[in-house]
């Protein structure tokens, strides 16, 4: 374990800008990795197994990976030992320091060798993979000048600039930067240019699209700049050609090599991060090819055995590995030495995977973006491929690029529709961390300007612009997001989530999850602008007083209300009774009133009415009820007396009848209320309604007194109260059903004389929809009070009487909210009934959606695909009762586990005695 080599950096060497040394050392030891033909044969065989000879030669570029290890002093020399220990000489001190480096030295199995460089302020750990072990060993010696530059870059002083852009002549398809972040190449169908990035602007440096005849080789789908050789570029042409370009060429046409091996468009090219001459391409024809730039044709071809290759990326850490993403949603990992078969394949997305990118630091993290609008991060470090993060975006993801130096950040742009560039913190997948909104058309290429600088992003777009974005100028959607959330629970609980600061004052409240207040946001660098705003929020839950009792009425009413199947009067009575039993007096009164308004007068005298009077005595409304019965007595007489004037009066002053009523009934409390208020106001207040009601009930009464005997109780069998002919309903209402009321004594007297007057009277002046506007307001009132149940129930019960008054949309809205509520309370039957009874077509179709039931045949346990009950595999009827062995017609119940079942009753009986399947299959059946 002697020191492998020592490089002395004399000052003159340092000053010699841009020159590098490469030390070659041959080794004779065979390390068992017979050389894949990928590497440059050094041309010299050395069979001595101790370090013996170095050869200096220009090394074209600095390795790409540089990671800061130590940053304390100016390092002038480095040594590396065979054990992988790094030794540096610190300037001014003249002594050596040892820096043990994790993972240094040579590992088996295709691992790269690590060589280390030093810099003015830092040590940089550099991966220099060594291929072809038995032949040569390359050691890197850095240039102090270059290193210093990189160092300063890292401290943020070299790269400067601002958010800026320049117009290109044509839409860009891809961009790439050169290693030192000073130049960018833009490629597209009609453009291929190099721009240098100045402080204030982009300056065009070269146009590579030259030549007399511009062939399709210039029509680039992708471009990549070599990260080790500043002069080397590669493009993927839409016609299937892979072209390399050498900027060092003296001629105008810089085209270097042309590979036309692919049959279809090449979607992606990728240089090996550490190997100068290795280029990988992925094409629409489903093949990936690896080229050695010193040869005329590809070295190896990898067949994905599937559809088009959309992206290929060399692993940054693993020298031999690369990832390829495919149009069918798969991602494959390959070992470059084994062209016959992929190492691993997994399905990453639904639909094409447009892009992938290896995490620069974490070996094994691969980000993929697909047409399914997802970005996924995969952990490939273990044998099991694991999806570790997933970000849902709003459009197909065209490119994804990890943000340098930020472990959890990545930038994406989309293929269509969405023109913005997003930077995500993958741990917060719901909202982008940063957003660049400059482009006017889809962004086609994004790249971080320097591999160690997270603050500059370059992007090219179909809108023919090239942008440099400063990260500090990015908009932060999180700033605009509303940090508070509020939600009602089913039982009236209220959950409220908000920023912590809102709750600091009253600490006595119980906050949920208070322990993990700052659960995941911990950054090594406490740079505020680089973190998500620290939104630690707390959740408060406010429970309803008195526990969950408060909403019991809703469930009870929903279950007990009858909405159809009887006469209007009966429905109203029933519902009023239900409401009263649940101490919902106002609702009960409303029902009663509705009954009065829309039903015949006989109903008023029913037991229910009296009951309500008796029981709800505490309510202010009671007065009016009393009044009602009085009014019933008085009004007919009144009207009869004024029969001649009635017409005109009604005609002209709608409030007139009331006035007269009040005149007549001094003893009623209703007379306290100003007369004009009653009809003029449409508040939908109970009192108003009531005044109205007893005002009109009598009016209706005259009319319907007559036919009572003839059609007694008939409408009990009419089962559709919402049928349009509600007039008939009234006519036929069971007038004398409750005889106790005062009306009874009134009727015999009045009926005779009234019949001649009242019929025309009613028809002409109190049309059936006379109260509709009031009822409408009442419904709105309930709905606004949050009692949508009442609104919908009344709507259904009244049916056509009221439906036209309320616009479709409101009705639909009420219905949906009510149905939603019902379903939350799991009142499926009720909700289905409501859906059925609703008259909105959009509501009706609710229970016609997703009505198919997928069943298995009980004999062969296979899914039954055909319609009907005959299994088309075993040709038997699948709906046999397992208990009685008859075919089930009617209700069939079956266990979802074993597909056996039978008559509902039989199965219920069976399950009382045994919990195993009656068919004898041994399944422990579960019925829910």
């Amino acid at each position: 374990m002697g020191s492998l080599g020592e490089v002395d950096h004399s000052e003159d060497y340092v000053e010699e800008q841009g020159s590098y040394l490469q030390l070659m050392k041959g080794r004779g030891e065979d390390h068992g990795e017979s050389g894949s033909a990928l590497a440059a044969p050094s041309g010299q065989e050395d069979t001595v197994d101790t370090p013996r000879h170095f050869r200096a030669q220009p090394f074209p570029s600095l390795p790409k990976r540089a990671e800061r290890l130590v940053a304390q002093a100016h390092v002038t020399r480095v040594y590396i030992t065979w054990g992988g220990t790094l030794v540096g000489v610190v300037a001014g001190e003249g002594r050596r320091r040892r820096f043990p480096v994790a993972g240094g030295g040579r590992k088996g199995g295709g691992d790269g060798f690590r060589v280390h460089g030093g810099g003015r302020q830092a040590f940089h750990k550099i991966d220099l993979p060594l291929h072809n072990w038995q032949r040569c060993l390359k050691l890197l010696v850095f240039s102090m000048e270059k290193m210093a530059r990189v160092t300063t870059v890292l401290s943020g002083s070299t790269i400067t600039g601002r958010t800026m852009f320049c117009h290109l002549d044509a839409p860009a398809n891809a961009i790439s930067v050169c290693r030192d972040a000073a130049q960018v190449v833009v490629a597209g169908r009609n453009i291929f240019k190099i721009y240098s990035i100045e402080e204030e602007q982009f300056v065009e440096r070269a146009n590579l699209r030259v030549g007399r005849k511009l062939s399709l080789n210039f029509s680039c789908a992708d471009v990549v700049w070599h990260q080790m050789d500043d002069n080397l570029l590669a493009t993927a042409a839409t016609n299937g050609a892979v072209v390399t370009w050498n900027l060092g060429k003296p001629s105008r046409n810089k085209q270097d090599q042309l590979f036309t091996e692919h049959k279809r468009t090449v979607n992606k090219v990728c240089f090996h991060p550490n190997e100068v001459n290795m280029l990988l391409s992925g094409s629409q024809d489903g093949y990936m090819k690896c080229f050695d730039l010193r040869k005329r044709e590809s070295v190896s071809t990898f067949s994905g055995q599937s559809e088009s290759v959309r992206d290929v990326q060399f692993s940054i850490k693993d020298y031999f590995a690369f990832a390829a993403s495919f149009e069918n949603g798969n991602v494959q990992l390959w070992d470059i030495r084994r062209p016959d078969r992929y190492e691993r394949m997994f399905t990453a997305h639904n639909g094409p995977v447009f892009c992938c990118d290896w995490h620069p630091d974490d070996r094994g993290w691969l980000a993929t973006g697909g047409r399914d609008k997802m970005v996924k991060v995969w952990d490939l470090s273990t044998t099991r491929t694991k999806e570790v993060y997933c970000v849902q975006t709003i459009a197909s993801v065209a490119r994804v690029k990890w943000r340098p130096e930020m472990k959890y950040h990545l930038a994406t742009c989309s293929m269509m529709v969405d023109h913005n560039i997003y930077v995500w913190d993958i741990r917060r997948p719901y909202i982008p961390f940063g957003m660049f909104e400059e482009h006017k058309d889809v962004t086609t290429g994004i790249i971080w300007r320097h591999i160690h600088d997270p603050y500059y992003l370059l992007s090219g777009s179909k809108d023919s612009t090239l942008y440099q974005h400063m990260f500090k100028d990015a908009s932060r959607p999180v700033d605009r997001a509303n940090p508070e959330g509020l939600c009602y629970g089913l039982f009236g609980d209220l959950a409220f989530a908000g920023k912590d600061s809102m709750f600091t004052s009253d600490s006595n409240r119980k906050t949920y999850g208070g322990e993990r207040r700052y659960p995941i946001f911990f950054f090594k660098k406490p740079d505020l602008s680089e973190q998500f705003a620290n939104v630690s929020s707390s959740l408060n839950v406010f429970e309803m007083e008195g526990g969950s009792n408060s909403v019991d009425w809703f469930v009870n009413m929903a279950q007990q209300y009858i909405l159809t199947g009887r006469s209007l009067a009966e429905l109203c009575d029933h519902n009023a009774k239900i409401a009263k039993e649940l101490y919902r007096y106002q609702v009960a009164q409303t029902w009663t009133m509705l009954r009065i308004v829309y039903s015949s007068p006989g109903a008023i005298s029913s037991v229910n009415l009296n009951q309500s009077i008796g029981k709800s005595g505490g309510l202010p409304l009671m007065n009016s009820l009393k009044e009602l019965s009085v009014a019933l007595n008085n009004e007919p007489r009144l009207e009869r007396g004024k029969a001649e004037n009635w017409q005109e009066m009604n005609h002209i002053h709608s409030s007139n009848p009331l006035i007269t009523a009040n005149e007549e009934n001094e003893e009623t409390e209703g007379s306290d209320v100003p007369a004009d208020y009653l009809f003029g106001d449409v508040e939908g207040d109970e009192d108003d309604l009531y005044m109205v009601d007893h005002e009109n009930a009598p009016a209706e009464e005259h009319e319907y007194i007559l036919p009572q005997e003839a059609f007694q109780l008939r409408h009990e069998i009419i089962d559709n109260p919402s049928a349009p002919d509600h007039l008939q309903d009234k006519v036929e209402s069971p007038h004398v059903s409750g005889n106790e009321a005062e009306t009874v004594c009134l009727t015999p007297i009045e009926s005779f004389s009234l019949m001649s007057i009242s019929q025309p009277l009613y028809d002409a002046y109190l049309p059936a929809d006379y109260f509709n506007s009031l009822v409408k307001d009442m419904l709105h009132y309930y709905a606004e009070q949050g009692d949508v149940q009442m609104a919908v129930s009344v709507l259904i019960v009244l049916g056509d009487r009221i439906r036209k008054e309320i616009d479709e949309q409101t009705q639909e809205h009420w219905y949906t909210s009510y149905i939603d509520l019902l379903q939350r309370f799991k009142l499926w039957n009720v909700s289905n009934e409501v859906i059925k009874l609703s008259t909105c077509s959009s509501i009706n179709c609710f229970n016609q959606a997703s009505t198919s039931l997928h069943i298995n045949c009980s004999n062969c346990k296979r899914p039954m695909s055909s319609k009907g009950w005959i299994c088309d595999r075993c040709r038997q009827c699948a709906s046999m009762c397992a208990v009685c062995h008859q075919v089930v017609k009617g209700l069939f119940v079956w266990c979802q586990g074993c597909s056996h079942g039978g008559h509902l009753q039989h199965i219920m009986n069976w399950l009382r005695t045994s919990s195993h399947c009656p068919a004898g299959c041994g399944h422990l059946c579960e019925y829910t």
Binding site: S219, K263, P352
Partner: protein, 489 residues
Amino acid sequence: MRVSAAAPVPAPAPSGRLEPVVTDCPSCQQCDRVRSKDRRVKIPRPLGQGPSAFIPVKEILQKDLEDAERQIFIEAFVSTGRVDNVTMVMGMHSQYLESFWKTQYYLLQMDGPLPYHYRHYIAVMAAARHQCSYLVSLHINEFLQVGGNPDWLNGLNFVPQKMRTLNEINKILAHRPWLITKEHIENLLKTGESSWSLAELIHAVVLLTHYHSLASFVLGCGIRPELDQDGGYTFGPPSPQSCDSDSASNSGSEEAVNGNASRDGLQELEVLIEKMKLLQEGRQDEEASQEEMATRFEREKRESLLVAPADDNESLSPTNLSCFVEDADFGYKDFSRRGEQTPPTFRAQDYSWEDHGYSLINRLYPEVGQLLDEKFQVVYNLTYNTMAMHCDVDTSMLRRAIWNYIHCVFGIRYDDYDYGEVNQLLERSLKIYIKTVACYPEKTTKRMYVGFWRHFRHSEKVHINLLLLEARMQAALLYALRAITRYMT
């Protein structure tokens, strides 16, 4: 290309379950006559035999249907109440039929932005552009069934303004899709009484392109009218001649063709296979220069001009459909006529279905994107590895040539395709057929159908028609979607 059809089914009386049309075959004409005499009831009888006028019945109906295949037919029957002729002919490629059926069902029956009667009316409008009375009458029925206003059937002047505005892009998409611009989209979407929403428009565009290309299929395969449609039945007694002549001419013409040109045909086939092999092995011998490649596309485009169909003597009488058509003279016109200003070639790489089209549709009408994607994939990859009597042939070259040729006819160019291959692989009669069916399907004749690929099976010719249908649909969709994209940006 179909293995299962390798042994041509002798097909006496086809199994009666699925083909109501054929069950009352002429064999029982005796009883028919008796019956009609007895009751004085006119009994309609099918005019032609089998679902297609070009393809003999025995080719289409197979006795030994596999379970899955039968399932599709049952499905189709259960959901629409009939197994129409299109379905039967497509049934020769059940793998595709399934996908096609799902898509069409979704477009017409499932949740979507457009009301049902709109959908069927759009179908009528689209099919009328190609004078495809089969589809028109089919969808007029459907239109009435879903409660459409019968007045609309009097023609475009009786429909709401909203529907009428669609006519412009209907016309363009049917004949010269490359002319569609973002202004057209803007016009439809601009706010106003009769404006379209974006989602509605996408639905309409998909329907339009679907029915334009389905019309191509119907006319290209010579689909006969349904039994219950005008022209699908006759009350007259079946004149033995007509029946016989039909079948006779069918087999006869084929035999004649085979007899006369069998040697020629066989030779052609061998040559074709040879060429494919050569091309597959590689083109090292003649590496075309880039300029050469570029010009080849142009040449192919221009040559497609020359394969204009011979103007047929029988001009259709489209009178009853003309009410659904405005500007009837607007037809396919080659965009690359010399001396005229040509719109720039559409580059498939710049706006492809997989990347862009799908993403857009999926955003606005989600399920359909998936379904169409599946359908395109199925049809593009459909192969049985057979060619005529040869087995184990990799037909991908041939299929790609056909697909790209159709796109070329509509001005879409693939950078990575050597259009010289088209010339080598597609014989002239095939090109004529393809161009006719794709661009003016109403001019397709049986002669054309019989004229190309004389040794290939009918199922293979149907396969071509499927490629035609989908490639044409994709081409029109791409143009429309690109215009919409441009509108949106």
